[in-house]
């Protein structure tokens, strides 16, 4: 009997140990709402706002708004300052508290969000999410997603969408409705080293405007020692972010994917391989490749550019603040900025939009939705937009930010910031230059990148490259379409 007792007590201890680890359990086990219930919530809410006016926009009791994001590093400091100011100001007046929680990179975040939505666990779904093109696709059709357009239509004094940068707004528009607010959008642009330009006998104030001119510049800028490249003229990697500008710039009839790059409905085919636009881009690009002075595999050229290894690089506008800190502030480089080169001198001068936006979820709680909406309105004010833009380099949601003192000061101190204004000006009216919303975004992007690299190093001819892109991308689309 002693033995049995010992065994039993051993197991009992184990069980106790395990259960004692159950610390602070999440207690809220109230009625789990389903998708139908949450729809009712918003229908009622919209009705109330239409009838009620200003007062109906204030939550009935103190509310916490949960905001999941992927912002880290210096940018997170700025974001937290904005949120703290809101919580202390308008939030305190209306009983709204925004809690921002970092959820990892865009990738980890997507996995987490997918898991939470699959569990249909209302308590553990956030109110606001920041999603990039990678993450929005699978989520946009979710029953819990609530288009911002609905509130824009219902609340007359809410957000004036004419203050939005048109292209940024188009980025987060789906099926004609504004799905989210363009909080953290960006574009591709060109950074170049003016010192290197002067050394090479190029005009530092007149950077190349087309791919052909770029090829010429790269040739002159590259420093060679026999077979060895000591300094590359250009460092970049062709990918969706860049093609998103080049393909549509060739003309209205060209696009990367059909169905408006996923803004009208899920794309069913890849069009840039069939309409000749990818072919045209790569044919022009060959001139740059032939100089042998381009590093075409580097999608994160920032470090190498800062250290002087590349004379030119293609990078996002959201890197502007950081690059300026590392070159202008340290006085190690005379930094030049420009719009990205055109494919040729016939296309448009517009630049495409990528990055991420903020979307809201409907958890069946009216107060949370009201809280979220109020916070969005705050973010859309010129002052807050200016703070975000000046601190990070992401496009300001409200274009009046460019006239705010904070921004004006910044532009005066660092004239490079003017480029963002220029890009917006030249992109006005062109709203189709959006990063595609397709299934398997990263995989398809990688596939096309890899094929272009094989073309670049000469191991594959143009036709094979285009065919491979076509077959590969189509397979991924079909994988999705056959299961959904």
């Amino acid at each position: 009997m002693k033995r049995k007792g010992k065994i039993l007590s051993g197991l009992l201890i184990t069980v106790l140990l395990v259960t004692s680890l159950t610390g602070c359990k999440s207690s809220s086990k109230d009625t789990k709402k389903g998708p139908e219930d949450v729809k009712v919530t918003t229908e009622n809410l919209e009705q109330q706002i239409k009838e009620g006016g200003e007062e109906s926009l204030i939550p009935s009791k103190p509310t916490e708004v949960i905001f999941w994001h992927s912002v880290s590093g210096n940018n997170e400091i700025i974001l937290n300052e904005i949120i703290d100011a809101y919580n202390a100001g308008p939030g305190a007046e209306k009983g709204i508290k925004v809690t921002a929680i970092f959820q990892g990179s865009y990738e980890d975040f997507s996995t987490k969000l997918a898991a939470a939505l699959q569990a249909k666990d209302i308590d553990n779904i956030p109110d606001i999410v920041q999603l990039s093109s990678k993450g929005i696709f699978d989520v946009k059709d979710s029953d819990f997603m609530y288009p911002v357009q609905n509130l824009i239509d219902t609340d007359p004094n809410g957000i004036d969408t004419s203050t939005f940068n048109e292209a940024s707004a188009a980025y987060c528009t789906y099926d004609g409705k504004l799905l989210g607010v363009p909080f953290s959008t960006s574009s591709i642009m060109m950074y170049y080293n003016k010192d290197h330009f002067r050394e090479a006998g190029l005009d530092a104030e007149n950077p190349p405007k087309t791919i052909a001119e770029l090829a010429d510049a790269v040739n002159k800028l590259t420093v060679r020692k026999g077979d060895k490249i000591e300094r590359y003229g250009l460092g970049t990697k062709l990918r969706f972010f860049i093609l998103g500008t080049w393909i549509p710039s060739l003309g209205n009839e060209y696009a990367m994917f059909n169905n408006n790059n996923g803004r009208t409905a899920t794309p069913t085919e890849i069009t840039m391989t069939k309409d000749g636009s990818l072919e045209k881009v790569l044919t022009e690009w060959k001139a740059v490749l032939d100089t042998k002075g381009v590093e075409y595999t580097d999608s994160k050229p920032n470090e190498a550019f800062i250290s002087g290894y590349y004379s030119i690089m293609f990078a996002s506008t959201s890197s502007l603040t950081n690059i300026i800190q590392n070159t202008v502030d340290t006085e190690t480089m005379d930094l030049g900025v420009a719009e990205i080169v055109r494919v040729d001198d016939k296309g448009s001068a517009a630049t495409g939009i990528g990055g991420s936006a903020l979307y809201m979820f409907n958890r069946g709680n009216q107060d949370s939705i009201l809280g979220t909406w109020d916070f969005f309105k705050y973010l859309a004010t010129p002052e807050v937009s200016a703070k975000w833009y000046a601190g990070t380099g992401y496009y300001p949601m409200n274009t009046a930010a460019f006239d705010m003192p904070e921004v004006v000061e910044r532009v005066e101190k660092y004239p490079q910031y003017k480029i963002v204004d220029t890009i917006i000006e030249h992109s006005a009216g062109f709203t189709d230059y959006t990063e595609p919303w397709i299934p398997a975004f990263s995989d398809t992007d990688t596939l096309i990148q890899d094929e272009i690299i094989k073309f670049s190093d000469g191991s594959q001819d143009l036709k094979t490259t285009i065919d491979n892109c076509d077959v590969g991308a189509t397979q991924k689309l079909n994988d999705y379409l056959s299961a959904n």
Binding site: I7, L17, F102, N124, P126, S307
Partner: protein, 283 residues
């Protein structure tokens, strides 16, 4: 003229010195990346990526990155979380694994091989495939945002079962029989003989378990939504950003997190040395 013995002794002494020095050099080479990481914590974010690269920072008195990490992130709370999670997972894991290994090493029962392969088979199941399923399970059990929810997936370690089985198998069956006849039950034999004999293995595997669980990133991220429940690895990721250069902060964070690890090593080194030199029971 030196005798043969003296020459042999001298050669041995030379070998001892030589291999000691060689070991120290190899040791320095191996920890160089860590030394570099800690030094980098003292470097300025702005000049971090200048060419030519440097190993040592401008000055060791630049504590701004470390201060940033400690104040701007909830690192102390995260470290506590990581510690609790790693410790409880390690303890439970050791208990479960040694119990199971005992069973495999000393009993003969139906389905022994099958069960063994089932348990060892978990080593090869890709954990990515299980993430979402396990999230759903933990969510249904209401264990999201709790220590239990995070820890429960770490209770099984196939490699520990495997290793303890190896270790227990070296304890001769005859010893087991003798103890049995003397009236010593299985549990008692397990506690009084097997565990002490395997002490070096237990220390080694326990340490490795602790570190593995301390280092996990994705699962704790998935299962926690609240800042207070986050682990230290998420803290490091929060310091770096794709669009901006905050490398000084990142390496300062790495440096700070290394410190408890180094302390842990210093403590357990003594135990391990004692365990190793006491030797195992030979049948």
């Amino acid at each position: 003229m030196k005798t043969v013995n003296e020459k042999a002794r001298q050669r041995k002494k030379f070998q001892y010195y030589f291999t000691s020095i060689l070991s120290v050099i190899l040791g320095l080479i191996i920890i160089f990346p860590l030394f570099y990481a800690i030094c980098s914590g003292f470097k300025d974010n702005i000049n971090f990526d200048n060419y030519p690269p440097r190993i040592l920072p401008e000055t060791f008195r630049n504590l701004s990155n470390f201060i940033y990490v400690v104040t701007k992130t909830l690192i102390p709370r995260y470290m506590l979380n990581s510690f609790v999670i790693a410790l409880s997972a390690t303890l439970v894991r050791l208990i479960f694994s040694t119990l199971a290994a005992y069973s495999f090493a000393f009993f003969n029962f139906k389905g022994k091989n099958v069960l063994f392969f089932i348990i060892v088979g978990t080593m090869m199941i890709p954990s990515e495939a299980l993430l979402i399923s396990n999230y759903l399970t933990v969510s249904k059990l209401g264990l999201l945002n709790t220590y239990a929810g995070i820890v429960c997936v770490y209770f099984v370690s196939a490699s520990q079962v495997f290793m303890f089985r190896q270790s227990f198998k070296t304890i001769s069956g005859a010893l087991r029989d003798a103890a049995y006849i003397d009236g010593c039950g299985d549990l008692l034999f397990y506690i009084k003989i097997c565990i002490p004999v395997s002490r070096p293995v237990i220390t080694a595997l326990g340490l490795s378990s602790f570190i593995n669980v301390w280092n996990t990133y994705l699962w704790p991220l998935l299962v926690t939504n609240k800042e207070e429940m986050r682990t230290v690895q998420v803290g490091i990721t929060m310091l770096s950003n794709a669009d901006s250069n905050a490398k000084g902060h990142v390496f300062a964070g790495i440096g700070i997190i290394l410190i408890p690890m180094i302390i842990l090593f210093a403590i357990s080194q003594r135990n391990m040395v004692r365990g190793i030199s006491s030797g195992a029971v030979k049948g």
